[in-house]
Symmetry: C2
Subunit: 695 residues, 2 copies
Amino acid sequence: MDALEKVTGDARFTADVQLPGMLYAALLRAPVPSGRITKLDLSAALALDGVRGGLTLTDVERIKIDGVQILEHDVRYANQVIAAVCADTLEIAERALHAISCDIDASHPVLTVDDAVAPNAPNVRPHGNLPRNTPRKFSRGDIDAGLRDADVTITREYRTPVALHTALEPHGAVADWSGGMLTVWESTQGIFLTRTELAKAFGLPLSKVRVIKNYMGGGFGAKNGASHATYAAAALSRKLGRPVRCVLDREGEQSDAGNRPATTQLVTLGAKRDGRLTAIKLEAKVPLGAAGWLGGPARIYHEIYACPNVHTVETFAYVNTSPMASFRAPGHTEGAFGLECAMDVLARELNIDPLELRKRNYADRDQDKSRPYSHKALDVCYEAGAERFGWTRARAARPSTGRVRRGVGMASVIWGAGGGPPAYATVRLNRDGTIEVLTGAQDLGTGARTVLAQIAAEVLGARLTDVRTILGDTERLPYASNSWGSITTASVGPAVRVAAEEACDALFDAAAGILGTEPSDLESHDSEIHAKSNDKCVLFRDVCEKLGDVMIIGQGSRGPNPDKTAIGAFAAQFAEVEVDTETGRVRVLRIVAAHDSGRIVNPTLAESQLEGGIIQGLGYALFEERALDATLGLPLNPTMHDYKVPTIGDVPVIDAFFVDTADPVANHIGVKGLAEPPMRTQSRMLSAERCLRFR
Amino acid sequence: MDALEKVTGDARFTADVQLPGMLYAALLRAPVPSGRITKLDLSAALALDGVRGGLTLTDVERIKIDGVQILEHDVRYANQVIAAVCADTLEIAERALHAISCDIDASHPVLTVDDAVAPNAPNVRPHGNLPRNTPRKFSRGDIDAGLRDADVTITREYRTPVALHTALEPHGAVADWSGGMLTVWESTQGIFLTRTELAKAFGLPLSKVRVIKNYMGGGFGAKNGASHATYAAAALSRKLGRPVRCVLDREGEQSDAGNRPATTQLVTLGAKRDGRLTAIKLEAKVPLGAAGWLGGPARIYHEIYACPNVHTVETFAYVNTSPMASFRAPGHTEGAFGLECAMDVLARELNIDPLELRKRNYADRDQDKSRPYSHKALDVCYEAGAERFGWTRARAARPSTGRVRRGVGMASVIWGAGGGPPAYATVRLNRDGTIEVLTGAQDLGTGARTVLAQIAAEVLGARLTDVRTILGDTERLPYASNSWGSITTASVGPAVRVAAEEACDALFDAAAGILGTEPSDLESHDSEIHAKSNDKCVLFRDVCEKLGDVMIIGQGSRGPNPDKTAIGAFAAQFAEVEVDTETGRVRVLRIVAAHDSGRIVNPTLAESQLEGGIIQGLGYALFEERALDATLGLPLNPTMHDYKVPTIGDVPVIDAFFVDTADPVANHIGVKGLAEPPMRTQSRMLSAERCLRFR
């Protein structure tokens, strides 16, 4: 529905916002990964023509992000923001950065988990390098008994690199303090969470902070709340009394706006001869960077396959690199790589078809809490995917020989995509019969405006072109949660449906009076209401016009999910790749992805998300890796030129589809999330090493 | 509640809106009041550096305001807009106007009603000079019988001048076409009406037009919908593909943004010897200007006093002067002047105290439809006002002699202030316990933000500082009607109360669980809830925090008024003035105003409105008059320097108060309107001629 705005350039992104008297902020970043600032002198920068002010530690002492201040005496990673200046133009602000005088007493950086946990390791964070001072452990059953009980055990170590979100639109905000209110335009996946964080940081009541998001060029988890740019813009605006724009440049985006942390996964699997898993064991190491939450790879080990004995240990450590952030199925994507690689090794050891091995360990209940799944069509995905891919035929083919060889692989997906927290929506009819859907959700670029409008249009029997969805304003729209965890359609969709049903009831009541019949006698389509008994009809707009100032308004909400069932999205993905055994070059030839995300509201948008996820996974597996100088701790490829995301030339034939079976329990529109699943196992399948070893 | 923003300059008015790439429009105005444009050539203007485009008749042929196009071949009044140009700065745009080449075949203007109705008068409007081709007549009872039945009859003619609204903030808009949507920031009393007008003018669905109004520097009726500035800005933005600002300069505001039309009122009253009216007769003439609705003086003659026989004739005519617009109690203010002057003449003839004469004709029912009043405390106003003024003592005093003489006068007020059409509101609590009131009403500067917040705070038992009111956005806020007819508090207030009650119920339900009691056991104040039975208490914010993402939201609406009762605001105003019998200079010494507007929600704001209305009435009576060259038809004083509004030095001691008795029937908050009553009879009381004749 917003294609026109996007292709014509009419769509206004955060960086397009311009306010009277607005200033531009530029950020000074640390040239070393570790040290202490001994001198920071902005006076020469502030004296420049057009420079209006600056920000140093003393301005922001009470502002904390994830427990870390936005400006600190301590440098904890390279490219950390250490000061900001604000000027009439961005060019002046950026030039002024060079006039800042800054001395740093550099120290030796901690760059790996092993370094971080070594005795006498310097502290990356004041309270030590281990979050909660201990690794995170999980046990189910008896891992030792499970390993003893196994006919076959295998152990392998897998490593995944640091990956960067690389959203087309960088982080950025325009902040405006006015009349004791802080208004922020922000490229964010969570307007209400950003509001909460800003209110807390600046000591404001929630009603005095407004967060607005119009269009957005991707988030992938790195934009869940307020960012450095947000806090810097808000703090500068407060200090200078003028609106301030702070948008990260590409280098800032690539080096200090979150990443998927690296992992090391030491995996042991034990199984009976028939393939049934008796033990899953994981020892993982995750360097989080200088801050971050504990997004580790273990959870998929706990839940994807039926296994009574599971033991995982994740050692997270703070290191002198830029902080991690959620990234499209955080933890699961990394974990899927390790576990599914190990499953293939196990299949080889057992001489069982890898797909068959997965089927034999099919979990029909949530493994953690032993709850039934609301609906699980992974078995259908296995069958349909294998059929479309020609799995049996491909497996039976003679192994390729010569320099360039081919191989096939597959993997399973699980993701908790039931929708999460409550959401609220309003559906109302204007006097001309046009319809507005209002909800404080946000559209990352995935099409929420269209999907929510479709739901309202279908309930009301309205033309889709008569419906507009209005999103992205904490002050004026009903509450909805972050657009994360693939939840928007599943969370907000049911609320829109309820609101549309309420509006439809009111509309039919009014129409029944006009048509001389009962509401139950009515049906609607194309924004017109028909009475079945007397064949009369009336347009929505004629009903609304007749009601005059009496408005048709429906309110809807969606409560929290009941805890009795587990809700998951599932998928099976298959790939065929070609490897040049001399150069190591991998070419992906084709991918088949069969997904169960419940009912699919908009196939075009949904399939686009599958394709996007698959391509992003392909980049993660084949090309993408944040390169860091192992001694100096400096990022080596924080640009689009050096950090290699896939181009259209790298993209294979993708046959991505949904089994499209509405989940009858998850919610009353039968949908589950779909944004994150396609990314997750794709990455694993494309490991060149595995393809070569595969058959 | 918004005082801080206003005094610090933080409050953003329409002219403060600035958008990326915004252009500035300037309007070319006709130098003669009547004629036909024979040539209009913008090419030299468009060739100037920085000029981006222009607007002529061909651009706007389908855009009509009140049946008149915004640009026409025909010039119907001096200063009519005939073209527009748009440039990078306002200075360039204004300079470019001088480069427009325009020839007008001027004709002799029609300037008075008598001219307009003369045989062979040129047509001001294509279909003639008389709206509906006939005067407007009204009859109740038998006027001839009433006059025959009278013991005393008097006849007088009164004239009122054209007055200008002179709002501090001129009309203006910023229009932005983007992605097929038209967004307009507008200084308007009616965001939803402006939306309707724009949608109609530009052929857009209502859902594709958004009207936003933040702060406003007065309207007084001239800003009820879209203005020339709005249409010009929108048409230019559509044409040029960039945002366009069009704000009237003061001369445009004073000469082409509405006015209170002049009247001539020939009044005949008949009464019995005891003062009871037997006949009220009016013949009025109202030159509307080149357009306008039929706002005439007759209605107050019909309704304010009990009289069985009433006959009024109003002859409206289109003339070659700028169009009239609603102006603070349109028609009533003019009519009150004529009727109340005549009542004083009658009192003198009958030798009855003027106050006593009014009491003897007290109407306890709506005279037109014979409905009972919901509540009428005019009698209390008479008593309380007379007491505070010292009416009896003043009347009994020896008439002053000498050059400077003193006199006293009084008058009655009636205004239909029951609230009008439906309104909708939302009241919601944030997770920190702060409260937001959302409604699509607008605040003219009269304090709606504060009053609506008070209503919500009182219902909820919240601290007022915890409540914020959010107004002025058609796209994101619930529908409310125009802020006209003194309706905002009476229309929107009840909707806010219902919404707050619904929110309070939800809040108490949640609190009862926390406090281990029943909701009926709870009471709240200062944003804290107490259980009467166990003396426990909990803060709003703790309840909300506990609810997490489950929001407390109340929805409220107010239906249309039932037609069975008449709802009116009433007042009695008293004045003492001093007249220099040689120079004619009048000094107003003191004014007492006793008003019945039902329950007063905010005494400070309400009294401020009384004072504002009284001062505006004083200006109307003593200083203000649009001067027009009687031959050329050109405005002579379209500036703040030449059009004399009262200064603080002209303002007497004002003792304005409310009898403050809640109207139990009008609505469930007991309020009635109060914006327009104070203006209305004030003007009449200050007629120097009357003061001199008075005692």
